[in-house]
Point group: C2
């Protein structure tokens, strides 16, 4: 039986709209790249809000933030609620942010009701989930889970050559706690779906059983710079023409493994990038995802074959680097049971599903029982300034999150401490 507490939908919405002003864009989105000054501002805001509720805020060595609300029993490990406050260069107002501010709304609801949980609750803001400024994505939760070490994280560079470590210190969020030393017993992450399924099926809640596998690659193609006017076509080694063929082929590889496979080239840089110079060098990124790792292996083999073919035909020198690999993830059965029970208690139409996007929960699942809750976003549109989830949908997800945490906390008392 889940305690009957109701979150404040309007208060949650107001906090989403207030923080949307930090890094807000003219087109209604948010440009709050990780470890920028806008990121610092929203971190300062979150710290202040949590402390106002009597929580203690700790920061670890890679900038992950942990706000703890004490429970009745200090011998139980905290139950965590976590997501991220960083965004894409042209991001929306809900991706990641809903999971953190939903957690904050839960802390406020419990505070107002004077409700005491058995285990302490812990609100977490993970650093650099997006991976847009510093690849790879989910870097803060990855270091926490031991997927990457701190030195690796510190050495990541943005396209201007600034390192993660330099940027972290520049905004004053290098904490003293060792990553992974701030423990919790389980984590729940609320997030927008970033896909079209819930909306198409008119469901309000997604009970997320796992995350598909993902691989990121970087490809460099080197040809030869030459004059566009006086270099006959057969004498050219045009790196951009070679890259264009690969980009076309990468889409085809994803389609060949449909409907679940996706393949994308999101970033490309051309040297010297001048109208009348045949491009001598092209750098671009590849993002492959599928729920089965075996299918990703097959897609990778096809990518290698496509590169070989392009090279032979156009006399170009390619270089392929796999910069990130995240295997398919299954979430914890107990945590999922609490989410299921909470969704039923709240009476929202729900369905079980697999996440198409990567999330901090995918790494945390390696070190603690974890589950996720999805709510719809209009048209499945995300990583876009027009990303849109309604007040009611944000409230529904947060209410289910509250119920899941309280249900899990209730079971917790039966567990040996």
């Amino acid at each position: 039986m889940i305690p009957n507490l109701q979150i404040d939908a309007r208060r949650l919405w107001d906090s989403l709209m207030e923080t949307a002003g930090i890094g807000g864009t003219p087109r209604g989105g948010i440009a709050r790249l990780t470890l920028t000054d806008a990121d610092r501002q929203v971190r300062d805001w979150l710290k202040q809000e949590c402390e106002r509720l009597g929580c203690t805020v700790t920061v670890d060595e890679v900038g992950n933030m942990f706000a703890v609300r004490p429970g009745r029993r200090s011998d139980l490990p905290p139950i965590a609620i976590g997501s991220h406050l960083d965004t894409q260069p042209t991001g929306g107002k809900f991706d990641g942010i809903l999971g953190v501010l939903g957690g904050l709304e839960i802390l406020k609801t419990l505070h107002d009701a004077g409700y005491e949980t058995n285990a302490p609750l812990m609100l977490v803001n993970w650093t650099n989930e997006e991976g847009s400024r510093f690849a790879p994505a989910m870097l803060g939760s990855g270091v926490y889970a031991g997927v990457f070490d701190r030195a690796y994280a510190d050495s990541r560079e943005d396209r201007q050559g600034v390192t993660f470590g330099e940027a972290l210190e520049a905004i004053g969020y290098r904490g003293s706690a060792k990553a992974g030393s701030i423990r919790f017993g389980a984590m729940f992450e609320l997030h927008i779906e970033q896909g079209p399924i819930l909306e198409q099926e008119e469901k309000v809640v997604g009970i997320v059983e796992g995350v598909q596998g993902m691989r990121w690659y970087e490809i460099s193609v080197t040809g030869r710079e030459a004059h566009t006017g006086s270099t006959p076509m057969p004498m050219r080694r045009d790196a951009l023409v070679g890259a264009a063929r690969l980009i076309d082929r990468i889409e085809a590889i994803a389609l060949e493994h449909g409907p679940s496979a996706v393949g994308s080239v999101g970033l490309i840089e051309v040297q010297p990038n001048s109208r009348n110079v045949v491009p001598g060098h092209v750098f671009f990124t590849v993002d492959f995802r599928h729920p089965e790792d075996a299918v990703l292996d097959a897609m990778e083999r096809k990518l290698l074959a496509a590169i070989d073919e392009m090279t032979r035909k156009a006399h170009l020198e390619p270089e392929l680097k796999k910069v990130w690999e995240s295997p398919a993830v299954r979430f914890d059965a107990d945590c999922l049971a609490s989410v299921q029970k909470s969704a039923e208690a709240a009476g929202y139409p729900a369905r079980r599903m697999i996440s198409g996007a990567g999330h901090d929960a995918a790494y945390i699942a390696r070190v603690a029982p974890t589950a996720m809750i999805f709510v719809p976003c209009a048209g499945g549109l995300s990583h876009n300034e027009e990303e849109s989830t309604s007040l009611e949908e944000c409230a529904a997800g947060t209410q289910v999150l509250l119920g899941a945490v309280l249900d899990y906390d209730g079971r917790g008392t039966e567990r040996p401490s």
Copy 2:
């Protein structure tokens, strides 16, 4: 009979190597984009050198520089020697620069010999020939020839939004003379071939009869930004995939009109250019060239058809702008006769040819008798830091240029003043 004067090959080479240090790159090239501080430095250097020889230097309203050496008869219009000192972002040491420093070497040779021409001689440095920072190319000579007006030139923007007019004033090279008001009777331009023909045929001098027609386009492709992980392939409107297909097709269109046609995409910009966002917007440039305008019309029709097809298939919104068009050019018979006579007198193996690249001479030919002289460059490689022409080849071209100017000056006396 051409007066027997010899240029100083070593002095010419030393001036090429000295100025190569202004904007010089670690890989041995030059990065001296028009109207940057490096461009200002080399302009200051040229002005000083010319004044040391007793020349008067005037600058017009778009920054074109004119250094005049008086002749015996002030009633004759000057004979001009002109090219450009600006370079590509990763340019070589000879493209344009040889034509200006070759002219400077001629002024020094005449000065040392105390030789007095009939007509005044005029050395010209044209502004923004490359068109790399500010499109279109050959902007300074274009305004001089009345192809563009000053307001158009001033309003050109670089990719950072700085205008040509702002940059010109920032380096202090906005002159008071109206463009086109500083007249001359003919112009000779010495340039490296930037193509493979002379080298392949073991010729030292190219007598350039004309320039092929050129057209520059800008294409914008708009799709929709979306999450790379959770947006199914059929739901995407990927602007980069659409652009990639066009880039592939543009190469094919040029090959279909071979061997003389060339087609290139040199510059591309992707929004938001993030690894895990499906690109919502792509901007890129197209450069088509052929000696016959009718063939360029056919290539343009195929480009339009390719854009239509891409749009229908991928549900993208394209925008095509023709930003520049330069018809095929034929040079002046008298000027060419002087070049031919000079090449024969100097005894260099020469051939008549058409220029594949655009040059200031192509616009000047609309308002004054004009011709060009080519010398080889290794591998036909240009717009590249490895661009290479030997001391002997630079000297040969400059010697032929001197002879052509003196021969034309000799005929000049027979012309009514």
